[in-house]
Amino acid sequence: MSLAWFARRLLLMVYTVIVVSMLVFAITQVLPADAAQSLLGENATPEMLAALRAKLGLGAPAWQQYLRWAGHVFTGDFGISMRTSQPVGPEMLSALSRSLLLAASSILVTLVVAVPLGVVAALRQGRLADTGVSLIAYLGVSLPEFVTATLLALLLADTLHWLPATGYVSPLEHFGDGISHLALPVLTISVILIAHVMRMMRSETLDVLKSDYIRAARLKGLPERSVLFRHALRNALLPVVTIIGLDVGYLLGGIIVIEEIFAIPGIGRALMVAIAARDLPSIQAGALIMAATYAVTNTLADMAYAVLDPRIRYD
């Protein structure tokens, strides 16, 4: 593994962000025949339309508009919100921090639950524990986030009153309260991730257990404990790094729904509010920041995998 590989991987990440920014810009500002009209709606006066067109630079060719916007974004200037008249950047980034807390907690919960369950299912292949785990996994991936969220809220908040149904309290200010408010959203996202990671973990473990080197380790007379923990588990765990990196994509999509349902002021909710209010700079900033977050985590996951797996030598 070489520095050149890392450099290329970073380059790829930059390319990804550039493509994403073009796409986001194209969908939001170039695709509509008259962005100003579609932003202001039917009741706009000609003066208002003209003012907005000038503000967005809609008269210029699309690529000039893009370069102008991209140039501002590059310097950290995402524009002024049309809804709140505040700079978009800081608002979105503070929303992102709350979303990241939600995402990181969900991944943590997922790993703690899914990895042992997947391994147990593989070791008990074909028996009751395996069948049970597989059925739950099937159910988990077949329920949309909004259904899981609603059902869990119905059960844990409205019926049992164990947890608050909606709202957000920063765990930095009120730790206990913050955690209890995070619990339902984290649980909801984790259900889907757990189902996915568990399935992967199970099939990875089965593959590794079938491999020649595990057989060789057993036939060398190593006790089952070292075969499992030293030889099998490590190799089965490696791909999970990549899977988590890819699952961040699902996670970010899911976060939009979850934050909307549980009224968490994260980037997903900010985006939904912006879409409802047709707040163009906020939509663009929110979408770009989300996709960039995915590109960065995915790159980090790839790099972590490259560091952890000695087989991989990129040159």
């Binding site: 020649d212 080197y213 060398k220 007379g221 190593l222 089952e224 190799n235």
Partner: protein, 524 residues
Amino acid sequence: MIPALAVKNYTLDYATAAGPVRVLHDISLQIGPGEVLGLVGESGSGKSSLAWALMRHLPDNAREIAGSLHLGDIDLQRLSPRELTRIRGRRLGMVFQDPSTSLNPTLTIGRQVTETLIQHRGIKQREADVLAVDLLSHVELRDPAAIMRRYPHEISGGEKQRVIIATAFGCRPDIILFDEPTTALDVITGARILELFARLREETGVAALYISHDLALVTRVADRVAVLKHGRLVEQAPAAEIFRAPRHADTQALVQAVPRPERRLIHDKSSDEVLLAASDIEVHYGRATLLGHAPPPATKRIGLDVRAGEILGLVGESGSGKSSVARALTGLAHFSGKVRFDNREITDARDMNAAYRRDVQIIFQHPDSSLNPRQKVSEILSRPLKLYGGNTAEIPRLLEQVRLPTSFADRWPHQLSGGQKQRVAIARAFAARPKLVICDEITAPLDVSVQAQIIELLLALRAATGTAFLFITHDLNLIRQIAHRIAVMRRGEMVDLLPAEDFDAEHVHPYTRELMAASPVPVG
């Protein structure tokens, strides 16, 4: 004296959906202390099942019907799992077929050698490290301390097998099972491993069960040889005798099928007329990508000519570039250089017209991948006929030509055995009535008896059609039986191109000599 290993009246079944299948019938054999018994059989003969039974690593559907397995005075079938871990590796070692998959890819070599020593010899990590370095240097690995820190992918296949052998010998077991330890290695590397085995055996006096499909090889390493066929032990004899005087008909057939260079299978001379002349062939795989450089050429300015009706052998180890030559000549790889065929000059795959495509046919190594799984045999055979102006009514004749029943036309490829698939591929090549057929390691994945039948078929087809062959193989003994001339390649370069009868002479390239020395010629 108690034998090191004793198998008595052992019978084994596998339970399948279609009822039990017997894989071992009433097997009895013994290995004395310090003795090496060779166990020979083709694929499906049950030789690996016996090894797994001895290691107590049978699949869940295995049913032990009768008999006993003893290691010294230990009854292997009665061992508890805990006792088993004290026997495996400690008293009963094993060396595996494919060293590249038998080592854990994410643990260092040192870790994998020392964990066994710590487990079985009750020593501390520091002592184990010292002992491991000693063991690795004893299997002729250079700089063992550095090897200890490496991961499996950082050393070669031969080095990996040495590491596994060092581990197996490290706990001083009573007996070691060798399961085709050189099959996955190149010829010369494999020969060195055998030399190592002979030396270690002399030094340690360990007993061994050496399992192989290769009768010639086994007679060189074993004291006695047992021949297994369809789960039955058909013959046991001293190694020196089994070739000279095979008693059982199955053994005789096996001995017959072993290629011997001195037993020539063709007796005619090829014509002097040059059919195909290739010069300065360099094969290039892949071009530079957005983020990488183009790899170096797989062959370096190779020149060869094939004469009408000739069998030209092309020999080399894996990665020597021999298959690249085949791909260049069939337009499957980008190449530079010139090919002259039928008075036409070809410098690029685009120059290969329909006539050339018809006249030069190729048969591939892997029968599983060379037939489209979604086409029936009749459709597979009808394509060259349609393309080159034949008649699909010829399909039965084509099948008969390769000695397959005409009813096979309605079969899917997955309903055929490996040898049968290869026959269909041969029929497809001959449907075009070619002047040259390129055979790219076509017998490598087949058993020797099937290989002998395929070779016999190819020679009969040549006698009937006068087709020339470019026969690519790693098996020097086989090619010396059938080729008029033999070319030897190493690392993309051609080191020799000689008439087959000159191969005993002194003037072959040192590499060719090394290859000849490494190719096991039967004892007796």
